[in-house]
């Protein structure tokens, strides 16, 4: 078994609301192997983005990391000083944000922003930096790098801006890239471009990637393994084929079935999960999914199911689904 590049154990994040501590992320554990794409999927409020932000210590108060360990290539990130963390961010861990408009500084040219990041993390300067920046503009597929170098974010379309954000995340040769909903703000036709670009660059650089999204289609095309989050807990972690073809957790199957997909024969099926995900601080006792689960029994309401590993999959459920024979 390979040693994972990133190992997250029992990561816990709480929110301090008027003195009450509310758990936003409850003992989340997963790992990312070298060169692998781990998809993190869940609905809004499940804790996907908080997980990404917690790893690079970008949680905004009242959110606070209160427990767990984060290990990147043997080094404990959770013990780093804020200053040491800054050099990890953008250096060894690159970050791609959802909204390309707000993650670029509107008053600094594209070229300058790239050069700043390259200089800060690669310790090179002068002409070399500029050459590197131009190279990246070309690598992310923008025509006329010299022209783009002098342009400002508002002069680019949404898709082009997201390409620059990707260049910024990758230009320091990070070992891990965390992409938080990288294509959600984009149109379908542009989304496919950006995914293709991310896939190409991933193949070239072999950097590991954490791909956070709510879109199961994106997960199916991009991820090697997938972690499903529900109400701040890991419901299931599995390889992508296993997850889509033989989900173990009833929530995973519900989520897959709820996603409308025009399947090949044109038959459309909508299977609904009743109710809604519990809000922060309103998680029921036992398994967080039990009020919506068709398999829930007494034990599901009594105790939180532990993450059980079985072959290549891990799931937190007392009554996992059998592999469907059909």
């Amino acid at each position: 078994m390979t040693t994972p590049l990133l190992d997250v154990r029992d990561l816990t994040v709480t929110i301090n609301r008027d003195g009450h501590l509310i758990t936003a992320l409850d003992k989340v554990s997963f790992s990312v192997n070298p060169g692998e794409v781990l998809g993190i999927v869940g609905e809004s409020g499940a804790g996907k983005s908080i997980t990404g932000a917690a790893i690079i210590d970008l949680l905004v108060p009242p959110l606070k990391r209160t427990g767990g360990t984060i290990t990147l290539a043997g080094e404990r990130l959770d013990r780093l000083s804020p200053k040491a963390m800054r050099s990890v961010r953008g250096g060894r861990i690159g970050f791609i944000f959802q909204d390309p408009m707000t993650s670029l500084n509107p008053v600094i040219s594209i070229g300058r922003q790239l050069c700043d990041t390259i200089e800060a993390h690669l310790k090179i300067g002068g002409e070399k930096t500029k050459r590197k920046a131009l190279e990246w503009i070309e690598r992310v597929g923008l025509p006329n790098p010299e022209v783009q170098f002098r342009r400002y974010p508002h002069q680019l379309s949404g898709g082009m801006r997201q390409r620059i954000v990707i260049a910024l995340a990758l230009c320091a040769n990070p070992a891990l890239v965390i992409a938080d909903e990288p294509t959600t703000a984009l149109d379908v036709s542009v989304q496919a471009h950006i995914l293709q670009l991310m896939r190409d660059l991933h193949r070239e650089s072999r950097a590991s990637m954490m791909l956070i999204t709510h879109d199961l289609g994106v997960i199916a095309k991009m991820a090697d393994r997938v972690a499903v989050l529900y109400a701040g807990r890991v419901a299931e972690i599995s390889t992508v084929g296993e997850l889509f073809n033989a989900p173990k957790h009833p929530y995973t199957r519900g989520l897959i079935r709820a996603t409308p997909m025009p399947s090949a024969d044109g038959e459309v099926r909508l299977d609904q999960i009743p109710g809604a995900m519990p809000g922060l601080g309103a998680v029921p006792p036992g398994c967080a999914f039990n009020p919506r689960c068709f398999k829930a029994e007494g034990d599901c309401r009594a105790a939180i199911p532990p993450l059980t590993t079985e072959e290549s999959a891990a799931f937190s459920c007392f009554h996992p689904l059998e592999r469907e024979t059909a």
Partner: protein, 335 residues
């Protein structure tokens, strides 16, 4: 207009004028404008749901606002079938953002009762309240929710309230503008199911607008595909998915990633979406079309009728039944 036709759009266009500066107004220079909707003709028959799909800037939401009467078309005509007394049918609309579509200072009861009161569909406080309770139950909420305020509900519940309000007006025509785009998958699923039940039980005529092809396939009987303000193809739902006639439709169907993990190929559409304010000459899609020839760059394609009663705007009669019809993206990566 035939007897079945409920709504007819006849060469409808809408131009957004750019806000002119004082100087420009004084000089009376014509700064032009963005043609958000360009020469769209469409018919919705009684009891039918017509879907409109397209990417941002294609004009689908503008078209919804034109049909709803919130905006006047710059040219063209929008006509509803009138009943015997010459009355135009009652309209209701469901919006994308469940947060801005409910007045936060009103109780749920007042919100749902508004169309009932305005159209005088029930008289007396008790009768109105009874109707509100009935509607709340119908959309899966409880009559006890009537006294609450919108802030106390989640996005999905708010969308249910919006549906209840729309139904309260006993609409003969319903416009749905991205009703599930702001919702999570499992909640979207519930709302779509609710809407499908209502379609079945109330025999509603409706216009369903979305950017999501899978959603529109579930909801609509016929689908129109829009690109940069133009209706480029229109066909019965299944026909559109099985035998698209316009290359854009084919590419759009393939571009959205499905959940098939055995075939992980991605199908981007070459190039970027042009600025809707300056659409390309000739066929508006020619800059991204793998089949584009010289004629496409210079001449706008005619509106052609397909055998199944559909319509498409393309110079060629292409066979696009399966994804392999598209030549491997010549240069998909660069704009």
């Amino acid at each position: 207009m035939s007897a079945q036709d409920f709504l007819t759009l006849n060469h409808v266009s809408k131009v957004y004028r750019r806000n002119q500066s004082l100087l420009e107004r004084l000089k009376k220079t014509d700064t032009g404008g963005t043609k958000a909707v360009s020469d769209v003709s469409l018919t919705v028959r009684h009891g039918e749901t017509v879907g409109l799909v397209g990417e941002s800037g294609c004009g689908k939401s503008t078209l919804a606002r034109l049909v709803s009467g919130l905006m006047e078309p710059t040219s063209g005509e929008i006509a509803f079938r009138k009943d015997g007394a010459g009355r135009t049918p009652r309209l209701q609309m469901i919006f994308q953002d469940p947060y801005s579509s409910l007045n936060g200072r009103w109780t749920i009861e007042d919100i749902i009762a508004e169309p009932i009161r305005v159209h005088k569909l029930r008289r007396g406080r008790a009768a109105i309240r009874a109707r509100v309770d009935e509607l709340l139950t119908q959309v899966g909420l409880s009559p006890a929710d009537a006294e609450k305020y919108p802030q106390e509900f989640s996005g999905g519940q708010r969308q249910r309230i919006c549906i209840a309000r729309a139904l309260a007006g006993e609409p003969e025509f319903l416009i749905l503008d991205e009703p599930t785009s702001a919702l999570d998958v499992s909640v979207q699923d519930q709302i779509l199911n609710l809407l499908r039940d209502l379609q079945k039980n109330l025999a509603l005529t409706s216009l369903f607008i979305t950017h999501n092809l899978s959603v529109v396939r579930i909801m609509a009987d016929r689908i129109g595909v829009m690109y940069l303000g133009e209706l480029v193809e229109e066909a019965p739902s299944e026909e559109l998915f099985l035998r698209p006639r316009h290359p854009y439709t084919r590419l759009l169907i393939d571009a959205a990633p499905d959940m098939d993990t055995s075939d992980r190929s991605l199908h981007p559409i070459a190039g970027e979406l042009p600025n809707p304010a300056f659409p390309p000459s000739g066929c508006r899609f020619h800059t991204r079309c793998p089949f584009a020839k010289d004629i496409c760059r210079n001449t706008a394609p005619p509106q052609k009728t397909a055998g199944t009663g559909g319509m498409f705007r393309c110079h060629f009669d292409l066979e696009l039944s399966n994804a392999q019809a598209i030549p491997p993206a010549s240069k998909a990566r660069t704009a």
